[in-house]
Amino acid sequence: MKDESTDKGQHNTPMLDELEGGKWPSFVTGLKRLRDNQDAKYAPMMNDLLGQLEHSYEERLGFWKGGTVSVLGYGGGIIPRFSEVADKFPASKEFHTLRVMPPAGYHYSTDLLRQMCDIWEEHGSGLIAFHGQSGDIMFQGTTTEGTQKAFDALNEIGFDLGGAGPALRTAMSCVGHARCEQSCYDEVRAHRTLINAFLDEMHRPSLPYKFKFKFSGCANDCVNAIHRADFAVIGTWRDDIKIDQEKVKEHVATVGRKYTIDTVVSMCPTRAISLNDDDTLEIDNQSCVRCMHCINVMTKALSPGDDKGVSILIGGKRSLKVGDLMGTMIIPFMKLESDEDFEKLEEFGETVIEFFADNALEHERIGETIDRIGLPAFIEAVGVDPDPNMVNHPRTSSYVRTDDFDEEAEKWFARKAAEAQISAE
């Protein structure tokens, strides 16, 4: 082992050096740039950081431990890291991360980015990630003292901490409306409306466990919401797919009949598409499940309908305790255009968070709560009526007590009558 601790200069990093080759941009080269910026306050820290990292590569073990660090007024948003090998690498003995919420949809001007760089050179290590897996800008590497200063400076330019711990977490939304024709609702507005309404839950962690929102403009789900959010908002539409049959014919003429059958007709999950003998498409919209596939393939000929809105799925998470869960379809359709629509969404978000706060066990995600108490109890608690879209199919088990079936059925019929009434008006 190299004698790093006694060497006052730069640590040897032979293993890390190996990662400077290859064509992909190298994070090691970047770290070294920071280390080598001898004027900067952070240079010694980054030298020791590289030293500790090399040590990890040698030992194949991590050497950070957690702790408690926060900024004034907030209980979360900082990931504190203290080195377990600070004796060898003293300058990086504190190496905390600030999780900062980016503009919804990740839009930046170069100007803004430069401001952020400046702040982080001043108060931190100069190492920033765009973005963490939950969507935060991660300002990585500062002392306990630097944490507050960096936050203050970022807060001054309009940025706020994201979530950590048992709290509302930073959300993500896809580029959507800003640049994507598939987008079925205003993701920026939905994202900001919901998160900004519940900031208190983010900044002062007091939920049973983490709670994440994610927003995708359509079922392509470019932010992985269904797997990775407790509350996923996915754009969809209720009316028919829009078809431009001339463009369909052009597409078939270009790629061929067989290829069209194999990549569009055969790939529709519900056999909703049929190719007519004149090379136009027949789409059975009642069978279509809004999966996006055919629209993705024929971007010019096909597009989502006009009666757009969102579906809400609840309960996605990774594997701790019960195993991975994806969100379950709870609200098949919610219109999301008018101010009232957005208010309704916010109200529903609040109901769900309150349910979670009141009913989840400690360290239990909402998906696990639903799993524990059952879907019927959950939807009743959050005031949602049963809908066939919530399930792949109705129950297959006869182990249920149905003596109140008729009363339950009456609710459905009353609801359907009321809906018919409304749509007739």
């Binding site: 079922a219 789900d221 269904i226 996915i234 969809t236 209720r238 009316d239 999950p269 519900t270 056999r271 909703a272 009642q286 069978s287 279509c288 499940v289 809004r290 999966c291 579906s311 799925l313 869960l325 994806m326 969100g327 379950t328 379809m329 098949p332 359709f333 799993d371 059952g374 879907l375 019927p376 939807i379 009743e380 049963p386 809908d387 066939p388 879209n389 919530m390 399930v391 792949n392 199919h393 109705p394 129950r395 297959t396 088990s397 006869s398 182990y399 249920v400 007590r401 149905t402 003596d403 079936f405 008729d406 339950e408 059925a409 009456e410 609710k411 459905w412 019929f413 359907k416």
Partner: protein, 360 residues
């Protein structure tokens, strides 16, 4: 037992009999050598062998629970018009095999003249699979023969023609154990109340630990009632499945009003296209209403006619519903979707829609 001298006859454990002595000669000759088939008309199959041999099969409905007179009548017809060989199908239909096409029509005529409907092939509603019910079983909630007769009367036309999108296989079961199994449509008893326990009898009749072990939700516990060992049911937990009743008849699960009928849809055994599936709850709590079970018949009819009108060729009931979506299925058949349709049993999570796939 008494002073009987004769030595008792010991069984000859012959096992499963060899069918070849009873098989139609053309089938025997072409065993394992068939080439293709078609269906010249409803109720008739036409199989062609690689040898060039052909055989026509005429299928007819029976009441399964047959008196010897009915059986002998069927034999008479077989002797006269069908070369003396028959088989019964998985669904208790009888099949006559004939080696010449011109024998088909007279055979059909004779069957029909004697009240045996010819059909049940291809895209038809075949005979409903049958269980024992009040006629014979010791735990039934309803009568299978009666339900089946009532339903087949209603579905008669769909048996004798092939106008469905694909075959429709209906099953009935006279208790929740469901000897009838899965079906495109399944008409099953559904208990609605926990068992009523006759505490005086439990101690003598029931092996209590075995009964406790049978309960799928651990709702039964041993208890002393009126100073006698008996059993107690936690009514909050009990899912009224009736599993405790067969091993312990004093735990009466049936009741004149409490025993109800549920209808399930979309079970499938074949592996054609989609994998086999279990049937799913359509409607529960229908009255157990002999002798015609009109409420049940009305719903079965509605489901069958909706499927007939709406499904694509070759789609089975469940495949059709998966395509159009369960919302539309409930809408089109005029049934209600309730919280009871949301599964709560082991593995329920896997029945939830964990995707943005949605039907409107």
């Amino acid at each position: 037992m008494n002073q009987q001298a004769e030595k008792p006859r010991m069984p000859d454990e012959v096992g499963v009999p060899d069918p070849f002595p009873y098989m139609h000669p053309v089938m025997k000759a072409n065993y394992g050598n068939w080439d293709w088939h078609d269906r010249p008309r409803p109720g008739v199959l036409h199989h062609v062998s690689k040898s060039g041999d052909e055989i026509w099969t005429v299928r007819a409905g029976t009441q399964r629970q047959m008196d010897v007179f009915t059986i002998r009548k069927l034999c008479d017809i077989g002797d006269q018009f069908a070369e003396g060989h028959v088989r019964f199908t998985t669904r208790s239909n009888i099949e006559y095999m004939v080696s010449k096409e011109e024998m088909v029509q007279p055979l059909i005529d004779e069957l029909q003249a004697n009240g045996f409907p010819v059909g049940g092939t291809g895209a038809s509603v075949s005979m409903i699979s049958h269980t024992q019910g009040w006629l014979h079983c010791d735990i039934p909630g309803t009568d299978a023969s009666g339900v089946v007769k009532s339903l087949m009367d209603v579905l008669y036309d769909e048996f004798v023609q092939e106008k469905m999108p694909n075959r429709v296989r209906i099953t009935t079961s006279c208790c929740q154990i469901n000897c009838g199994g899965q079906g495109d449509i399944a008409v099953n008893v559904q208990y609605t109340k926990p068992p009523r326990i006759n505490h005086d009898l439990v101690a003598n009749v029931c092996e209590r630990p075995a009964v406790v072990a049978r309960c799928p939700v651990a709702a039964i516990r041993p208890a002393m009632v009126n100073g006698k060992p008996s059993l107690e049911v936690d009514e909050k937990k009990c899912v009224a499945c009736g599993a405790c009743y067969p091993p312990c008849p004093p735990m009466q699960i049936n009741g004149k009003e409490e025993t109800r009928i549920a209808i399930w849809v979309g079970g499938k055994h074949s592996n054609a296209r989609s994998k086999p599936t279990f049937h799913k709850l359509a409607v529960a709590n229908l009255p157990n209403n002999p002798p015609h079970w009109p409420e049940v018949a009305a719903i079965v009819r509605k489901i069958v006619s909706t499927y007939k009108k709406d499904a694509k060729h070759w789609e089975r009931m469940g495949e059709w519903i998966e395509r159009i979506g369960w919302s539309r299925f409930f809408e089109k058949t005029g049934m209600a979707f309730t919280k009871h349709h949301l599964d709560t049993w082991t593995g329920a999570r896997k029945t939830m829609n964990m995707s943005a796939h949605v039907h409107f």
